[in-house]
């Protein structure tokens, strides 16, 4: 018997066992309680679908060439299109507020926030190869430090932004110290716990953080001291244009568009710093650490310090994004900093391809943007979303943009195929 047929038959048998009670029997409430209606046709349809589905899958697999060779053509295409994709995406990002309405800009802000978080986490996970499941902690630290500084000392957004980054970096180092000896799964568990600890502390330190009620009335950012208010007058955006003789109408979109450019600027800053870091000794040491920690030590690289800088710099960008999140929403509560946020950001990084800036941006657009676009599908979008993730991971197990560009070259920089690049073991 053909092994594929045999395999498919076994799958169909398993399906029969599973679907027998679930699909084959339906409960109906009648006048004297529940009674069962057998549905043999529906059951047969499900089992037959499984049988042929499995058969098709196996045949497809059998015809696919062995190994990862198949991906090379795809990777080459993506790489070539990547050269045009980056400027195209950048242009789109810059002109978006002019060509789209309020909803589009809001969605843009959301996507860019995740792009920035993805790029920040990419430093820790993608470059240094340290699996961090608690990245949301730094996002929360940034948001809360800005909110509390603004509330307590009346400081503005631009003063607090670097402070929020600094606080987050401090927490990054504090997380870094205990987890330095851990690798792989253990590192993931401790960082996961760290994320939860921060959230629970925020929830319970009610006298400082407001507990579950959160903090409201967080100030909006200003444009060189100009505020975006409907009232107009001196010190406002519309008032400024009035005073120089070009009066314009106030619209809330101006404020949203401004916020959009703030996060675009922050995200591009993250990207620029990351790209620069990759080209200098520190970034190269991170990548070397991901490749082989023991060899790093034998070359005189202080592994502790190198890991801590990765945590601290990754955390800084998480903190900056957090401060932005607080100022955009004007209200924060521990609800916004649950584990699912860490998971989404990590999924963006992994899906995009570890260490790839373009991949992370694409993945954020697909994951966050796609999720919003399919809002009409209600609960089914979760299903579609999961399916899409599985599909991408099957087709491109190393992420959308795998492969690595060398940081320095004597001649032409040539992409290094993903098979050679280590993913880091923590």
């Amino acid at each position: 018997m053909n092994p594929n047929l045999k395999d498919a038959s076994i799958s169909a048998l398993v399906a029969l066992g599973l679907f027998g009670p679930m699909i084959g029997l339906k409960t109906e409430s009648g006048s004297i309680g529940l009674f069962l209606i057998p549905r043999p046709l529906a059951l047969a349809a499900a089992v037959v679908a499984v049988f042929f589905g499995r058969l098709l899958l196996l045949t497809w697999r059998g015809q696919r060439p062995r190994g990862t060779q198949t991906n090379h053509k795809l990777a080459e295409t993506i790489k070539r299109s990547g050269r045009f994709l980056t400027p195209a995406l950048l242009t789109l990002a810059i002109v978006l507020p002019f060509i789209s309405g309020r909803y589009g800009i809001d969605l843009g802000i959301l996507v860019l926030t995740y792009v920035m978080l993805g790029w920040g986490l990419n430093i820790v996970v993608g470059l240094a190869g340290l699996l961090d499941l608690g990245y949301v902690a730094f996002y929360a630290v940034g948001a809360y430090s800005f909110a509390l500084l603004a509330q307590t000392f009346g400081l503005g957004f631009w003063t607090c932004l670097p402070l929020a980054g600094l606080f987050a970096a401090t927490w990054g180092v504090m997380l870094g110290f205990p987890v330095l000896r851990l690798r792989g799964d253990y590192l993931a568990i401790v960082t996961l716990a760290f994320g939860e600890i921060i959230r629970i502390v925020l929830l319970n330190a009610a006298s400082i953080t407001g507990g579950p009620n959160g903090i409201s009335g967080i100030p909006r950012p200003t444009l060189f001291g100009l505020q975006f208010t409907a009232a107009g007058g001196h010190g406002s955006f519309t008032g400024f244009f009035e005073s120089i003789g070009y009066p314009i109408e106030y619209s809330p979109t101006q404020r949203v568009a401004f916020l959009y450019y703030v996060i675009l600027g922050l995200a591009l800053l993250t990207n620029w710093v990351t790209l620069r870091l990759r080209r200098v000794a520190l970034g190269r040491a991170w990548e070397a650490l991901r490749e082989d920690e023991v060899a790093c030590r034998s070359l005189g690289i202080n592994v502790t310090v190198t890991k801590l800088t990765a945590f601290a710099i990754g955390a800084t960008f998480g903190g900056l994004a957090g401060a932005f999140f607080a100022t955009r929403n004007a209200f924060i509560s521990p609800e916004s900093f649950t584990f699912i946020e860490s998971a989404i950001v990590l999924a963006i990084v992994v899906l995009g391809g570890l260490g790839s800036q373009l991949g992370t941006a694409l993945a954020a657009i697909v994951m966050i943007g796609g999720f919003e676009v399919f809002r009409d599908l209600a609960d089914y979008r979760m299903l579609l979303f999961g399916l899409a993730l599985v599909l991408i991971m099957v087709l491109r197990p190393r992420g959308l943009v795998s492969g690595r560009t060398p940081s320095v070259a004597l001649g032409r920089r040539r992409e290094i195929s993903a098979e050679l690049v280590a993913e880091g073991r923590g």
């Binding site: 190269r284 490749e291 034998s298 290094i416 050679l420």
Partner: protein, 284 residues
């Protein structure tokens, strides 16, 4: 006595109940190639791991004296300090290159401390400050020089993991040399090389020695060992069984017994002299 570079005194390393190295004492002199040989499991790599800080020895001391007089007690230093301050570089028995980075990048990572003396300067480099650019030009020049020496210059931009095995071995030595060591520790650099590659390796080690770098070598290829060593140390079961120049070691009955087993126990008829031809034949 002045010429002693490395002095190991009563070095003992225990893993639970297993004594891998037992009260070992030896010296390595400056400018020499000192080989450590012995049967499998004799504790050679353990000694290396103690010297380079990967293991903390159970007891004993490892003293390193630089030509300029600076002295280090290696057993008290963490691994990265030994590489950076005491300037002891090493390679690994199973090659540990950064496979996903290019050949050139591998050599630049080795010069990390020259490029980035501290975290502050590392961060300044992001903004193009702190002299990183100038340091990188020097580092690339040094890397280029080493690539030229090991004939890998045309492959500088290829990923290290894609190189043939012999090239990877040489690249690992070049990478260690890029840290500008005083002492280079090589753990079986000729393993898996064909005879021609072994010859090239021996020649490379001779040039490294001529440049003034002392070499500590673990090797099973007796041809290479006997040809290039100035001084050989033989270990068996964690103990020193012979210590001297190649001619002395080759003739030492203890060494022959260690390599072939004790002739008088299992097979009393095999005379030592006859057996001595077998393991060390390649050296003659």
């Amino acid at each position: 006595m002045d010429s002693v570079l490395l002095r190991v005194t009563d070095l003992t390393m225990r893993f639970g109940g297993l004594t891998a190295v037992n009260a070992l004492s030896f010296e390595a002199r400056r400018g020499e190639i000192t080989s450590v040989i012995g049967p499998n499991g004799a504790g050679k790599t353990t000694v290396f791991n103690c010297i380079t800080g990967f293991y903390q020895p159970t007891s004993g001391s490892i003293a390193l004296t630089h030509p300029n007089g600076a002295a280090f007690q290696l057993q008290t230093l963490p691994g990265h300090r030994i590489a950076r301050r005491a300037r002891v570089a090493r390679t690994f028995q199973n090659i540990r290159l950064f496979a996903g980075m290019t050949v050139l990048e591998n050599l630049l990572v080795a010069q990390h401390n020259a490029l980035m003396p501290n975290v502050g300067s590392g961060l300044l480099a992001v903004f193009g400050l702190g002299g990183h650019h100038a340091a990188e030009i020097v580092a690339i020049d040094r890397a280029r020089g080493w690539l030229d020496r090991i004939n890998l210059l045309p492959r500088a931009d290829d990923p290290a993991g894609a190189l043939p095995y012999g090239d990877q071995r040489r690249l690992e030595i070049a990478r260690a040399m890029c840290t500008q060591p005083v002492l280079l520790c090589l753990d079986e650099p000729a393993a898996g090389l064909n005879p021609r590659e072994s010859d090239a390796l021996a020649a490379l080690l001779k040039t490294i020695q001529a440049d003034g770098c002392s070499v500590l070598l673990i090797e099973h290829d007796m041809g290479v060992v006997m040809r290039i060593s100035d001084h050989i140390i033989v270990l068996d079961h964690g103990k020193l069984i012979s210590d001297g120049d190649p001619a002395h070691v080759r003739a030492d009955p203890n060494v022959i017994a260690a390599y072939l087993g004790e002739g008088d126990e299992d097979d009393p008829d095999v005379p030592l002299a006859a057996a001595s031809d077998v393991p060390l034949a390649a050296a003659r």
